[in-house]
């Protein structure tokens, strides 16, 4: 039964063993973290004084903090001094020179996912022709964006070119001492994305890290800041459905969203990092802090995520609904297989009047994995007329996996209404029988049922993502039935 599954995992594993053992080059820092390292890092990036100060403040705070242990995950202790906190982008000569040098199994996965040929090269880490990289893509999106006045660049560039904006908003949603991993990120963030959409502008296209130049090298401590000014709209896509290669085991990213009056931000994620082998060895630890502040009236922040990768996922995209009538949404599909562990969910903090939020979370656990939804819905005393609807459904495939729900609901306003429901079930024998009877093989049947189970969330994804996400689930579930 598990042959295909093993293959898929094998191929990813093998890929990771290939060619990613970097000899310590002169432009890679020695492992270890201290104030000098941060200063050097900041120096290399030619950051202004205030940025360094901010990083150091975060670092000092981090030193006093304890690593959180409340999540329903288990992993060996991380030695933060054994990590190198800066590594220059890989030189082209070190990369595979063409697709022929890439593991054929990986290419087969790409094929299954229907990824275009030139994109496969980029995903596999092939040294891509610079023309493709910087000119063709750049011209297709840079022009219309510039015309609309949208700023879309790396955060390092933003720190240099738009310091007022960065200074005004960085750390306002996720403060430098917010939590252990956020503090670490604030101290050592390598790079990330900065987006500013000016007043009244509807961003003419879906923005994506995938198309931003050099995005592949943003490293393990990514920092994203998106600001939607009054009346603007932006949709942002993060990650991609293809298995991403990455040599860092620990990922601690921070994403901050700020929506002013009448602004809307839609943030979609597809995360498919290396989940470790079928024995649970290796795999990415993904400790992410994502938070959006709907500070303006009538603003809206919407999170959609499809999480299939990483050995450990610790991620709670949240909305602080400060502005009156603001709206928060969270749509999530989290799939775990083998020994993967996911502890994910959301926080909806209702502070303003008539704020509303919707949470739809679908957890699928297979193999020996553990999948937990952890959420908080909170109504402050001023959240007059606020409303929340939460639905968490879990699907279990196999009798050695776990599905958990830990929802916290706190209300301090009598006119606020919250409804929460959760169910857990398995793929029913009746459903399977119906499909089998019609000549659909078990694997396809399960993937069909799972796809139906996730429909509500996929509907929220941008179209091309939704199609890929469906295929991704199929690939990730391979071998879990039969």
């Amino acid at each position: 039964m598990a042959t295909t599954d093993t293959e898929v995992n094998e191929l990813i594993k093998r890929e990771y063993e290939h060619g990613f053992v970097t000899d310590i080059e002169s432009d890679t820092f020695e492992p270890g973290l201290n104030e000098d390292v941060i200063a050097r890092l900041s120096g290399i990036k030619k950051e202004p004084e205030w940025m360094l100060e901010w990083r150091l403040k975060a670092y000092r705070r981090w030193l006093e903090m304890d690593e959180p242990d409340w999540a329903h995950v288990g992993y060996p202790k991380i030695d933060y001094n054994s990590i190198s906190y800066y590594s220059a982008p890989k030189r082209k000569e070190d990369m595979p020179q063409s697709l022929d040098e890439v593991d054929p199994e990986l290419l087969r996965t790409y094929e299954k996912l229907g990824i275009p040929l030139h994109e496969r090269e980029k995903l596999a880490g092939v040294a891509v022709d610079a023309v493709f990289d910087s000119v063709s893509v750049a011209t297709t999106f840079k022009e219309p964006l510039a015309k609309a006045g949208v700023i879309f660049c790396s955060i390092s560039e933003a720190v240099r070119d738009y310091p007022e904006l960065v200074q005004k908003y960085l750390g306002t949603v996720v403060p430098h001492g917010d939590n252990f991993f956020a503090a670490l990120n604030s101290a050592v963030f390598s790079d990330g994305t900065f987006v500013y959409v000016p007043k009244g502008v509807r961003c003419p296209m879906e923005l994506s890290t995938y198309f931003r130049i050099n995005a592949a090298n943003t490293g393990q401590f990514e920092r994203t800041l998106i600001i939607a000014d009054e009346g603007s709209y932006v949709s942002y896509l993060e990650g991609c459905t293809a298995p991403m290669r990455d040599e860092n085991q620990l990922h601690a990213a921070v994403v901050e969203l700020v929506a002013l009056d009448d602004a809307q931000i839609k943030y979609s994620t597809v995360q498919n990092w290396y989940p470790g082998d079928e024995e649970g060895k290796g795999g990415i630890f993904n400790f992410v802090t994502k938070r959006g502040a709907a500070i303006g009236k009538n603003s809206k922040i919407s999170w959609t995520q499809v999480e299939t990768g990483s050995a450990i996922t610790w991620k709670y995209p949240s909305c602080i609904l400060r502005g009156d009538n603001s709206v928060g949404e969270f749509y999530s599909v989290a799939l775990t297989n083998n020994y993967q562990q996911a502890d994910t969910g959301t926080k909806m903090i209702h502070l303003g009047k008539n704020t509303s939020s919707t949470i739809i979370s679908k957890g699928i656990s297979a193999g020996k994995s553990s999948n937990a939804y952890r959420g908080l819905v909170k109504f402050g005393p001023g959240a007059e007329g606020a409303r929340n609807f939460t639905q968490c459904d879990s699907l279990l495939i196999g009798d050695r996996c776990g599905a958990h729900t830990f929802p916290y609901i706190e209300s301090k306003n009598k006119s606020a209404i919250v409804e929460h429901e959760a169910t857990t079930s398995k793929v029913s024998d009746e459903q399977m029988f119906l499909c089998r009877q019609r000549g659909i093989d078990p694997e396809q049947a399960v993937s069909m049922i799972v796809n139906g189970f996730c429909k509500e969330v996929f509907r929220e994804l941008p179209m091309e993502f939704a199609v890929e996400a469906g295929k991704l689930l199929e690939v990730s579930l391979e071998g879990s039935v039969g």
């Binding site: 304890d66 409340w70 879990s394 495939i397 609901i409 209404i417 409804e419 079930s425």
Partner: protein, 428 residues
């Protein structure tokens, strides 16, 4: 990081009473463990909302004497055992010598029974209730052992009246162990009342062991005074095909905390847990329930309703844990809450932890206020607004109160609740 605060040394002095040796030894052993019992803080997950109300001052460490007047607030239709400050009062109790059932004080147990009991105490409660159970096991001075022989059926409810006489600061540690033999039946009513006005702490633990096919109904009424801090735990172990039904009715106070843990250990066992909580003024009530589905083919059904008025605070934390081998489990949990005032707060956390795949589990939780349309409907038919409020609020929980199988208890509860709502909606 600051070290976790530990219990005041005043609680470490040896407890009194004349227990048989095995029980005294158990108590001593638990007593020595008190030194490093971490006191709950805001960071203690199970005490997140309640730790600041728990005040274990030195004068609280004095065990309350077993003297003073006693009486029950309920007109008792069945058998009755009265415990004053945790100590049984034979003269106030009234239960006949029945075949198949023995009710004994810990003090009077023979050494074999005491050894047997010492080996079973605390088994029905896990570490989530450690603060409650360890303190009780370290401090109890007497207790009640109720044993039902296989097949024994108690024809009338057995009332256990826990009375706390708060004429001076101090604490009481009532302890009950019920061993229901195979196919036995009993309805237990535990009633907590208090007199006096000094600030006191009641730390109570009740454990029930249900043999194969046993059928136990437990009703718990919490009606102590405002001055009482109540931290209690009930642990239930269920063997094959046993049935446990629980009805908890609670009125708020300075601090009310009740942990209810049910372990479905034998196949085909089932439990039904109902709970009603009302709080007003600055009262605080915290219910924590856990249902462990250890064996296959067990059913659990849980329904809790909270109503919080004024500046009060009501908390519900329900946890369903389906173990790996508990296939074909059915579990349902439902928690509805009514917030009557903007100063009040309700926190709820319905948890599911599931390790088996062939199960049906669901939980639901809501927090809201009275429905304006229903109110309007009643008012438009000439019912005063205040009365309409009382009616609707009562209807919200009456569904559960009506299921209480003992008539006197049901009526007393309904009366108390009605009075409570009349008072709450006075100004409206």
């Amino acid at each position: 990081m600051r070290p976790a605060p530990t219990l005041s040394t005043a609680f470490l002095h040896p407890a009194g009473g004349s227990l048989p040796e095995p029980l005294a030894a158990l108590r001593k052993q638990q007593g020595s463990g008190l030194v490093d019992l971490p006191l709950p803080t805001r960071k203690t997950e199970n005490w997140k909302y309640s730790s600041k109300y728990l005040k274990l001052t030195d004068d609280m460490a004095i065990s309350l004497p077993a003297e003073g007047k006693s009486g029950s607030s309920l007109a008792v239709p069945g058998y009755k055992v009265v415990l004053l400050n945790g100590i049984m009062m034979p003269e106030a109790s009234d239960y006949p010598d029945l075949d198949g059932i023995t009710i004994e004080r810990f003090e009077d147990l023979d050494s074999d029974t005491a050894t047997w009991l010492a080996g079973r105490l605390d088994h029905a409660l896990d570490s989530r209730s450690v603060q409650i159970s360890r303190l009780n096991t370290a401090r109890f001075e007497d207790g009640l052992l109720i044993r039902l022989k296989p097949g024994a059926v108690l024809d009338q409810p057995l009332f256990i009246v826990h009375e706390t006489q708060a004429d001076a600061s101090g604490s009481a540690y009532p302890r009950i162990y019920v061993d229901a033999g195979a196919n036995s039946q009993i309805t237990l009513v535990e009633e907590y009342i208090s007199g006096g006005s000094e600030s006191v702490m009641v730390n109570t633990v009740t454990e029930l062991n249900l043999g194969e096919g046993a059928n136990v109904t437990s009703i718990r009424l919490n009606m102590e005074g405002e001055n009482v801090q109540h931290i209690g735990a009930t642990g239930v172990l269920q063997q094959r095909s046993s049935r446990f039904e629980s009805h908890c009715v609670g009125f708020g106070g300075l601090l009310r905390r009740h942990d209810l843990q049910v372990r479905l250990e034998g196949e085909g066992a089932e439990c039904k847990l109902n709970g009603v909580v009302v709080t007003q003024d600055k009262q605080h009530y915290d219910n924590h329930t856990t249902i462990e589905h250890v064996a296959a083919r067990c059913n659990s059904e849980e329904t809790y309703r909270n109503i919080a008025a004024d500046q009060s605070h009501a908390i519900f934390n329900g946890r369903i844990h389906i173990h790996q081998d508990a296939q074909k489990s059915n579990a349902n949990m439902n928690n509805k809450n009514l917030l009557l005032s903007n100063g009040a707060e309700i926190d709820t956390k319905p948890e599911l932890e599931i390790y088996a795949d062939d199960v049906k589990c669901a939980h639901g939780a809501t927090i809201g206020q009275l429905d304006e349309i229903s109110l309007f409907y009643l008012v438009s038919r000439g019912i005063g607004r205040r009365e309409a409020n009382v009616l609707l609020t009562m209807a919200f929980i009456n569904e559960l109160v009506e299921q209480i199988p003992v008539e006197t208890v049901r009526e007393t509860t309904q009366g108390r609740l009605n009075q409570f709502f009349e008072q709450t909606f006075q100004e409206a």
